[in-house]
């Protein structure tokens, strides 16, 4: 079975220190104002009695690119510059093929992507590819003081991530209208559970899906027309009635 790198998160131990977001920024040179990962929080609800649902407390939820099973960002990329690597299951960006058109940015419901202001390409979490090449864990995972983030190959039954998933119940945080089947699992329960943002294909990409068959249809019709004309020319011989006007005749004379 192929690898599937994933993150298993115990959000109940997250203390919102945001060390993971800083570690990521430093490790990956993430420019000012941009983030590859985040910590969300639930809004306390004072209308319900707290003894029932613990609704008056904050719940912190670390997140990042979820390297989804159904990556809408990949569906939005025209060139395959963003792709799901079959070898490790991670969603990657080829920095030399990406021209920074940003079609994938709104296509990600989680907002995990941004256009890098100086590299002029789309950037996102790559599970700290350089660190992993050295045999180290992603920066956010190593930094977390409460070990809320656990990273590993969930298809390898001996990995920490797989063991955690096996022993505990888990949930995925999704937008109900655009479930991208994220590879980020939250243990037991987490909040907020319903992701408010829906994946949005940019208008030009959506229009392309409709215009594509039309354009290819026109090309195809012309090709068929040309082929019919060619067949007719081979099979039939049509000569002009006025022989002096026809160069076919002139050539013979």
């Amino acid at each position: 079975m192929n690898k599937q790198l994933a993150m298993v998160i115990d959000s109940s131990v997250c203390i919102d220190c945001k060390a993971c977001t800083l570690a990521c920024k430093v490790e990956n040179n993430v420019p000012e104002g941009k983030w590859r990962n985040w910590v969300k929080r639930s809004e306390p609800d004072f209308n319900k009695p707290d003894w029932m649902v613990h609704s008056t407390s904050f719940h912190f939820q670390p997140g990042g690119c979820m390297h989804c099973e159904v990556p809408t960002c990949v569906q939005a990329c025209p060139t395959g510059a963003t792709y799901k690597d079959e070898k490790d299951g991670a969603v990657k960006v080829d920095p030399k093929l990406c021209i920074g058109c940003g079609s994938c940015i709104p296509a990600c419901p989680y907002g995990a992507r941004y256009r890098h202001p100086t590299r002029n390409i789309v950037d996102k979490c790559d599970y700290c590819e350089k660190r992993r090449a050295r045999g180290e864990l992603p920066a956010c995972v190593v930094t977390c003081p409460t070990k809320a983030r656990v990273f590993g190959d969930i298809n390898d039954p001996k990995s920490d991530a797989a063991l955690l998933l096996k022993k505990n119940q888990s949930v995925r945080v999704i937008n109900k209208e655009s479930d991208t089947k994220p590879n980020m699992y939250y243990l037991s329960a987490t909040a907020p559970l319903n992701w408010p943002v829906k994946a949005k294909m940019p208008d030009p990409i959506q229009l392309w899906k409709m215009a594509g068959p039309l354009i290819w249809g026109i090309v195809g019709l012309n090709a068929i027309g040309v082929l019919i004309m060619l067949g007719k020319q081979i099979l039939m011989n049509d000569k002009a009635p006025e022989t002096d006007e026809s160069h076919e005749e002139t050539r013979q004379s």
């Binding site: 030399k96 256009r115 002029n120 090309v219 004309m229 009635p241 026809s246 160069h247």
Partner: protein, 224 residues
């Protein structure tokens, strides 16, 4: 210039098609995979497409400047020189003759009361002009949208503009390519066009060919 254009077009069309790697947008799914193996990755494919694309646009720009008076202005004057009545009749009669034949043309012309004689044409016939105009302006649209994408790579951060440029690039190339199929057929395969095909290499056509296909032009050449 024609063969420079043709060579660039074939290369750019094939590599451009290979750059579209997306199940929803690409009907020929194995083509991008094959090309990426040939070029050693999508990044090289993109680079090659961009280098040839810039060469193509730059070549035309240079040509346009150097040969403005001798070629470009006369070319534009010629392709926009349309005589509605004569050319419309040509389109009808030539169309019927090519598809249904001379006999059918005679019958249809008699029934609808127009002359079955195909009107004379100038240096280009109206069919050529109908392709030349969108080919030229399509070419400009292709270059502008292509340059927009390159600008994105060097710092123009307007992603929405770039996304539209990609779509416009695709649609324009598709439409011009559809016309190109007919262009190639008419120039190299169509009956009676062999002298025109040979002229693309020699630069001249036999007089009887010119009289038959481009009489108005022949008359002008003879006058001067």
């Amino acid at each position: 210039m024609h063969w420079f254009n043709a060579g660039c077009w074939i290369f750019l069309f094939l590599t451009g098609l290979g750059l579209i790697q997306n199940d929803d947008l690409q009907p020929f799914t194995s083509w991008p995979t094959i090309l990426r193996i040939v070029f050693g990755g999508g990044a090289n494919l993109l680079l090659a497409h961009e280098i040839v694309g810039i060469t193509w646009a730059g070549g035309f720009l240079l040509y346009g400047i150097i040969r403005l008076k001798s070629d470009v202005i006369p070319f534009f004057r010629e392709i926009f020189n349309v005589d509605i009545h004569r050319d419309f009749l040509w389109l009808i009669t030539k169309g019927i003759q090519m598809t249904l034949g001379y006999r059918a043309l005679g019958i249809i012309a008699e029934k609808f009361g127009f002359s079955p004689i195909i009107p004379d044409q100038g240096f280009y016939n109206i069919g050529q002009k109908i392709f030349a105009i969108p080919a030229v302006f399509g070419g400009i649209v292709i270059v502008v949208s292509g340059v927009t994408m390159i600008l994105s790579q060097v710092g123009m951060a307007s992603t929405e503009l770039v996304q539209w440029a990609i779509l416009i690039h695709f649609i324009t190339v598709g439409l011009v390519f559809a016309g190109l199929l007919i262009h190639v057929f008419m120039a190299s395969i169509a009956a009676g066009e062999q002298p025109a095909f040979i002229s693309m290499f020699t630069g001249s056509v036999p007089e009887d060919y010119a009289r038959h296909h481009h009489k108005l032009w022949l008359d002008e050449v003879k006058k001067s």
